[in-house]
Symmetry: C2
């Protein structure tokens, strides 16, 4: 359809900056993960010392095979931090957690002391008013009784159908069973129990050595589980993450580290641009890997390494959520660099990632940079069209705001990859942002267009 | 799935404000069209006196049956105004028009003198650099020669594939043919010639009497054609509207009236939240319905009536565009009232209208107010969830932020209507906004996910 674009062979500039006929080099790749971190094979939310986890069928769902209650419990009270949805329609469990933690408020990180996190799937306890808040408080009390701790040390989360009242009976049988069966090996079951439209459980863990950061002989672990797909389908799904670490940290210091990690990971995922009523991310630190050691303080190498580990775990789970978006066939990584400032970089990357036209083009294996350009152009980011460069799957497709001929067969081959990278350089500065999303498929419409009953 | 929601029968509040058990009244409807305006059956862009129009096959498309060049030509030079896309990646014809009109700039209304508007479909002349601007200037020159006017009086627009250079040969044969065949009856052919993925041509006209607004004996007409669907598919589509009137108005006064009408109509349409590189809306005023009469001045009853007519024509076309969105099965009208200020009302309505979850729910005939609430909640508008009321298709589904039982069978019956009204009252003030969109279907994904070639 497009004689310039149809021209195959080695890509060359067409009216773009640089010497005509000279091969166009791809934009540089993103930074790799830090070497100091080691993945824990099969690790999850109970990989760190001092934590146990369980997933049971409590009865929120009809199918007895389906786990619907997850518990993460610490041996001792832990430093805790949490970040919650900014949605005005925030759900009852979010409101109740905010009562227990300090410095809470919409969007601000909260912190305090926690011994356990309990999560049910099937019913979101959202848009349920005062009766919903009472149910969330009861959920915490039942768990506190079974664990043997104050109710103020139990954090709660729910995910599932909106506008329905949360039954308490399943907690009365399910929580004691979860407490009894919780173990270091229970992370996988817990990760399964929080799934809704997720097609896969999501968990991971990394470790790092204390020797070179002032904690000789210690090895620290950060582990986590998360759920989320189709961010966010209010009657079925939400984003929930529980992160644990055995590093010693004060709660007040955990909070900003969690906020930073969430901003660089979960808040960079967009599947359909909606934000849930129930989104919650919890972080508990037991200190069990270095008993009696002083807390890692902000500004020290140990704290920086912990923050790296936290980022790594959250980014891994965030990418898994995007890849598991409803009906997704491809993970899409949108990177915008050369923006005038970080807000412009974020807005531009997010606008591209939210564009249904870009997402359907990826589904159709179409390296359609015009759709990327149109999204950048309406994002509000400041730039000049003649300064823009775009790569799709590492292939230069636009330079100087103009079409670059590329090998269409090579593009189709690269679209076989499970991950599609879209990279744009706005040529307006040095700020950069990455956002993850997935393609838009027929299955997305089927999953979300099917009548609920 | 939802025992509250499944309860059939007359709707009643459930924990919402008002007396429990009392029927919940629907939110009030929107204001009707003014009585003073009369529709012109079959009217379009050449309905106003002093204008002729034509649509021909010039050769931008291969199919000889498909019209691809539209011309609107006035008998005499007209006062003209235009509004253009705010996309940074604005196309060459937009840039060239801005050179000809005064007070132009991104988003600002431009005005001046024009004799003709020429539009081609098939090639957008976008992302084509200086060569594209030269082609747009040549398009105007060729038309000016055929019409017999200065090139500065010819406005241009293109729609179609992005990143491809515009061929000039089709203009050399097509424009003279269009000038030769242009007529008062040619509006319908012109409306066809600007279609891309549109499934229907879009035109309309209204008249109003001059007697009661200070122009005795005169009858004024405002007519228009537009194209647009799948706002906006950069490689195939864009939004273009040409509006004409035979009322006498100075160009400088036309510009703000056009901006206001566009803001209340075309800028309220969102099919997939993208904004095109080529969006353009032109308004020409011939004065031919009242030769020698003084121009209608802002602040007079005549000008107010003209503005009403302009709004009415633009809203009719905007709704037609939304209803013709790619793969659309339903027109969705989202009205948010009770917002703290107009910006909040707009943001809230637009966020609901852009939500793929809301759009797939409508496709699935699911009165899923939770998805509407979640979109309102993340829109940035200021409100409290316990103050929110939501109606879907005139059925109260949420009061006080809580579920209202409703008759699911009645809801399914109402979903048979071609238009689905979603109305929310935020209970936070008195500002209101309406946005039009369409549902998200399997066909949307097919149309946009199909590989271009």
């Amino acid at each position: 359809m497009d004689n310039e674009k149809a021209a195959a062979g080695v890509a060359s500039t067409a009216g773009a900056p640089g010497t005509p006929g000279e091969p166009v080099r791809p934009l540089p790749p993103a930074a790799p993960a830090p070497d100091a971190l080691a993945a824990v094979p099969g690790g999850g939310v109970a990989a760190a010392l001092g934590f146990r986890a369980a997933g049971v069928h409590a009865g929120f769902r009809d199918d007895p095979e389906r786990l619907d209650l997850a518990l993460v419990v610490a041996d001792e009270p832990c430093a805790a931090a949490a970040v919650f949805t900014r949605n005005v329609f925030c759900a009852a469990p979010v409101q109740v957690n905010r009562e227990k933690l300090d410095e809470g408020g919409p969007g601000a990180p909260s912190y305090g002391t926690a011994r356990a996190v309990v999560v049910n799937s099937g019913v979101a306890n959202a848009a349920t008013g005062e009766r919903g808040r009472e149910a969330a408080r009861a959920m915490a009390s039942i768990t506190a009784d079974a664990v043997g701790c104050p109710a103020s040390e139990v954090l709660v989360a729910s995910t599932g159908v909106i506008g329905v009242h949360l039954p308490l009976e399943p907690f009365r049988t399910g929580v004691p069973e979860a407490v009894a069966t919780a173990s270091r090996a229970g992370g996988a079951a817990a990760a399964r129990a929080i799934m809704t439209t997720d097609t896969r459980p999501k968990e991971c863990a990394v470790t790092f050595d204390g020797d070179d950061v002032g904690y000789p002989g210690a090895r620290f672990t950060v582990g986590a589980m998360a759920k989320g797909s189709g961010m966010i389908m209010p009657d079925m799904a939400t984003m929930i993450a529980v992160v644990t670490t055995d590093a010693p940290v004060l709660a007040a210091d955990l909070a900003p580290a969690l906020r930073a990690a969430a901003d660089a990971s979960f808040n960079r995922v967009t599947v359909d641009s909606d934000t849930s009523t129930n989104d919650s991310c919890f972080l508990l630190a037991s200190g069990a890997a270095a008993p009696g050691a002083p807390p890692m303080a902000p500004g020290t190498p140990a704290f920086a390494r912990l923050a790296q580990a936290l980022d790594q775990v959250c980014v891994t789970l965030a990418r898994a959520m995007a890849a598991d978006g409803e009906g997704a066939t491809r993970l899409i990584t949108v990177t915008v660099r050369g923006a005038a400032d970080p807000a412009d970089a974020q807005a531009a990357a997010r606008t591209v990632a939210n564009s249904p036209l870009v997402k359907t083009a990826v589904y159709g294996h179409d390296a359609n940079w015009g759709r990327v350009a149109a999204a950048l152009g309406r994002s509000g980011a400041a730039f000049r069209q003649e300064d823009v460069a775009i790569d799709i799957l590492g292939l230069p497709v636009c330079r100087g705001g103009l079409t670059v001929p590329f090998d269409e067969d090579e593009a189709l081959r690269r679209f076989e990859s499970p991950e599609v990278a879209i990279t744009a350089d706005l040529g307006a500065g040095s700020a950069e942002a990455t956002v993850w999303t997935c393609d838009f498929s027929h299955d997305y419409v089927s999953i979300n267009g099917d009548y609920r009953s």
